[in-house]
C-alpha cells in the first residue's frame, strides 16, 4: 500500500497576531513553525497504516526552503520519504497549490505506482480555504470524503467517519481515494530521538513548480478589532469566590 500526506508550514502564533509593516504577512521573526493539528493527524494515520499494512508513506509540502523542517518532523514520526515543492515563500492560492500538488502526484505515481490513499487536512491552519484536497481529488478523478474523525481500510474500500452535531455520518468509498482529516482522528505520537536521527537520512526530492497568477489575490491582512479589552479582576485566590458567584447570579447562570 502507498499513502501520501500533504502538509503546510505555518507560524506557531501565540497570544496575539502581529503583522509586518506592509501588512502582507505575519511577523514571524520570533516564532516557531508547525503544521495544522489536522495534518498532524493525517501524518499519524499514514504512519499507522504503513506500520500495519506495509508499503510506503510519503509526505509532501509546497513551501519555502525552510519547510524541509516540517518534512523532517513528519519523517521523524515514521514517514519514509518526502517531496518538497519549493517556493520563494510567496503566497500561493488554493488553485495554484492544488495544480502543483497534482503535477507532483502524477510524476511520483508514474515512477512508483498509484497512492491508495492521499491525506489532506480538512482546512489549512492559516488560510483555511477548505478546498485544496477536493481540487486535487477532482483533477485525479478520485472520490474524496472530507473532515474525517475515523478511518478504516476494508479490502478495496475505505470506511470514513465524519462528526456531525455530536453524531456520526459514515461513508464508504473505493480506493484509490483522497481524504481530508480533522484533529481527533487519532492521538499523534511524539517523535523519538532515534526517529529524529533516521529522519535526517531519509530522502527529500526537491522541485520548483511554476506559479500561475492568483485568482484569489491577497491585498492585505488585518488584525480584527475587539481584542485587547482588560478583564475586571474579581479578586485573588480562593477569597474571590463570593465575587465570582455574585457575577454568576447577575448574568443568570446560577
Amino acid at each position: 500500500m502507498r499513502v501520501l500526506v500533504c502538509v503546510k508550514r505555518v507560524p506557531f502564533t501565540g497570544g496575539k497576531m502581529v503583522l509586518v509593516s506592509d501588512s502582507m504577512a505575519l511577523e514571524t521573526r520570533h516564532l516557531g513553525f508547525t503544521i495544522s493539528p489536522h495534518e498532524e493527524c493525517g501524518v499519524e494515520e499514514a504512519v499507522r497504516l504503513i506500520e500495519s499494512q506495509k508499503g510506503e508513506s510519503v509526505v509532501l509540502t509546497l513551501g519555502p526552503p525552510e519547510a524541509v523542517e516540517q518534512l523532517r518532523d513528519a519523517m521523524a514520526l515514521g514517514i519514509d520519504r518526502a517531496i518538497h515543492l519549493q517556493t520563494g515563500g510567496e503566497e500561493w492560492d488554493a488553485e495554484a497549490t492544488a495544480a502543483a500538488i497534482v503535477e507532483a502526484i502524477r510524476a511520483d505515481e508514474a515512477a512508483s505506482g498509484p497512492f491508495d490513499l492521499i491525506f489532506f487536512g480538512n482546512e489549512s491552519a492559516d488560510s483555511g480555504g477548505y478546498q485544496v484536497g477536493l481540487r486535487v481529488a477532482r483533477e485525479l478523478a478520485r472520490p474524496c470524503v472530507t473532515g474525517l474523525k475515523g478511518l478504516a481500510i476494508e479490502g478495496s474500500s475505505v470506511r470514513c467517519e465524519q462528526e456531525v452535531e455530536g453524531g456520526r455520518d459514515i461513508y464508504a468509498v473505493p480506493t484509490p481515494a483522497v481524504v481530508t482529516v480533522k484533529e481527533g482522528l487519532n492521538l499523534p505520537r511524539y517523535p523519538s530521538v532515534p526517529g529524529r536521527m533516521r529522519a535526517g537520512r531519509k530522502p527529500v526530492v526537491v522541485t520548483t513548480p511554476a506559479r500561475s497568477p492568483a485568482r484569489l489575490e491577497l491585498a492585505r491582512l488585518v488584525v480584527p478589532p475587539g481584542q485587547g479589552r482588560r478583564a475586571e479582576i474579581l479578586g485573588n485566590g480562593a477569597s474571590a469566590a463570593p465575587a465570582v458567584v455574585e457575577m454568576m447570579r447577575k448574568i443568570g447562570v446560577v
Binding site: 502564533t13 501565540g14 497570544g15 496575539k16 497576531m17 505575519l26 493539528p37 488554493a94 491552519a125 483555511g128 480555504g129 477548505y130 478546498q131 477536493l134 477532482r138 472520490p143 470524503v145 472530507t146 473532515g147 456531525v164 452535531e165 455530536g166 453524531g167 455520518d169 459514515i170 461513508y171 464508504a172 468509498v173 473505493p174 484533529e183 481527533g184 492521538l187 499523534p188 485568482r215 484569489l216 489575490e217 491577497l218 491585498a219 492585505r220 491582512l221 488585518v222 488584525v223 480584527p224 481584542q227 479589552r229 482588560r230 478583564a231 475586571e232 474579581l234 479578586g235 485566590g237 480562593a238 474571590a240 469566590a241 465570582v244 458567584v245 454568576m248 448574568i251 447562570v253 446560577v254
Partner: protein, 331 residues
C-alpha cells in the same frame, strides 16, 4: 438579469441560521440583481397535512421574509442521504442554467465542502468564510484566516464568484420580495453518488459542548487527568459542559471532543470559564462567541487577561473548589 444564487441548508422545514445570514450578505451583494435560492431534497409528497412546516412553506417564506425572488427546489430520490458531489452537481447545473452572476453558501462544514466541489468541477476560484463582499469587475472581499483570529482583504478575479459566508458574522436582516417557487428534478450521474452517507450514528446525549450555556474549561494549568475532577464538579454544579485546551488533549488527559478552539469545537455559551489556559489565538478562535469570559490564572499577565471580561488571579486548584463550595453554600 443574471441572478445571485444561494444554497440554503435546511432541516425539518427550517433554514439554518448561517444560511439566512448568507442570504442577507448575498442580497447586499446583489444590489438590485434578483436573489435566487436553491433547496435540495427528496421528492416532495403532495399529501402532507397542511400547516406543517414543509419545504414548500419554507420556499414560499423566503420571499416575504428574506427577499428571495425565486426559490428552486431540486427533488431527487437519491438525495435522501447527503451526497456532496450530487449537491455540487445540482448547484453547478442550476448556476449554469440561470447564468448566475455569483453563487453563495454558508461557511459551514457542509456549505464549504459543497462549494469547494463546485469550484473544483467548474475550475473557478473560491473565497471561503467571507465576512464582507463588494461587487466589481473583481470582487473585493474580507475573509477569515486562522479561524477568525486574523482577517484577509482580497480580490477575487472570477467570471462567477463563488463565496461562502463565515457563520455568525453577518446579522440576519429581513427583506420582502414576490417569490416564485420552481420545482425540478436534477440529472445525476452515477459517479456523483459514489461519495454518500451510508449510515448515521445518532448523538450520544448529555450536555453538548457546542450548545452548553456554561462551559468550564481546563488547560495545562490543571496539571493532570485527575486534576479535572474539580473542573467537572464546577461544570456539574452549573449544569454546564467541560472543555479543554489542545495541550490537554495532546497529553491524553481529555478526549478531543472536549477541545475548544480553531481545530476543536466552536462554542457560544453565556459564560466561559477558562482555568489555567493562557489564551492562545487558536484557543480564543473557539470561544470568541461566548457572551462572557472568566479567566482563572496564576499569571496576571497571561494573554487571556486581554480577552476576558472577568478574571481571578490565583491557583486554580484553590479557586475552582472555592467557587464550587460557595455555590453549594448559597443553595
Amino acid at each position: 438579469m443574471a441572478p445571485v444564487l444561494v444554497l440554503v441548508e435546511h432541516t425539518d422545514g427550517e433554514a439554518s441560521d448561517p444560511s439566512l445570514q448568507t442570504l442577507t450578505l448575498a442580497r447586499s451583494f446583489a444590489k438590485g440583481q434578483p436573489l435566487h435560492a436553491l433547496l435540495i431534497t427528496t421528492p416532495i409528497q403532495s399529501d402532507l397535512e397542511p400547516g406543517r412546516h414543509t419545504i414548500l412553506d419554507l420556499a414560499q417564506d423566503l420571499g416575504p421574509r428574506h427577499g428571495v425572488e425565486a426559490a428552486h427546489i431540486a427533488e431527487h430520490e437519491e438525495l435522501g442521504s447527503f451526497a456532496p458531489d450530487a449537491w455540487a452537481a445540482v448547484l453547478g447545473q442550476l448556476g449554469d442554467r440561470l447564468d448566475a452572476s455569483a453563487m453563495f453558501a454558508a461557511g459551514t462544514d457542509r456549505g464549504n465542502e459543497v462549494m469547494a466541489r463546485v469550484a473544483a468541477r467548474t475550475g473557478l476560484p473560491l473565497a471561503t468564510n467571507c465576512v464582507s463582499v463588494t461587487p466589481g469587475s473583481s470582487v473585493t472581499l474580507t475573509r477569515q484566516r486562522w479561524g477568525g483570529s486574523l482577517l484577509e482583504e482580497a480580490l477575487l478575479h472570477s467570471p462567477r464568484p463563488l463565496i461562502t459566508v463565515a457563520p455568525h458574522t453577518v446579522p440576519i436582516e429581513a427583506a420582502r420580495a414576490e417569490t416564485t417557487v420552481e420545482r425540478f428534478t436534477p440529472q445525476l450521474k452515477e459517479q456523483e453518488l459514489v461519495v454518500r452517507v451510508v449510515e448515521r450514528v445518532p448523538p450520544a446525549g448529555g450536555v453538548s459542548l457546542a450548545e452548553a450555556k456554561v462551559v468550564v474549561s481546563g488547560g495545562r494549568g490543571v496539571g493532570s487527568k485527575e486534576g479535572f475532577a474539580i473542573i467537572e464538579e464546577l461544570a456539574r454544579l452549573l449544569g454546564g459542559a467541560v472543555g479543554c485546551s489542545r495541550v490537554v488533549t495532546s497529553a491524553g488527559w481529555r478526549p478531543h471532543t472536549d477541545q475548544v478552539g480553531q481545530t476543536g469545537t466552536k462554542i457560544a455559551p453565556e459564560l466561559y470559564i477558562a482555568c489555567g489556559i493562557s489564551g492562545a489565538t487558536q484557543h480564543m478562535a473557539g470561544c470568541r462567541g461566548a457572551k462572557r469570559i472568566l479567566a482563572i490564572n496564576s499569571d496576571a499577565e497571561a494573554p487571556i487577561m486581554q480577552n476576558a471580561d472577568y478574571a481571578v488571579v490565583g491557583d486554580l486548584k484553590e479557586v475552582v473548589p472555592a467557587i464550587s463550595a460557595e455555590i453549594r453554600r448559597q443553595r
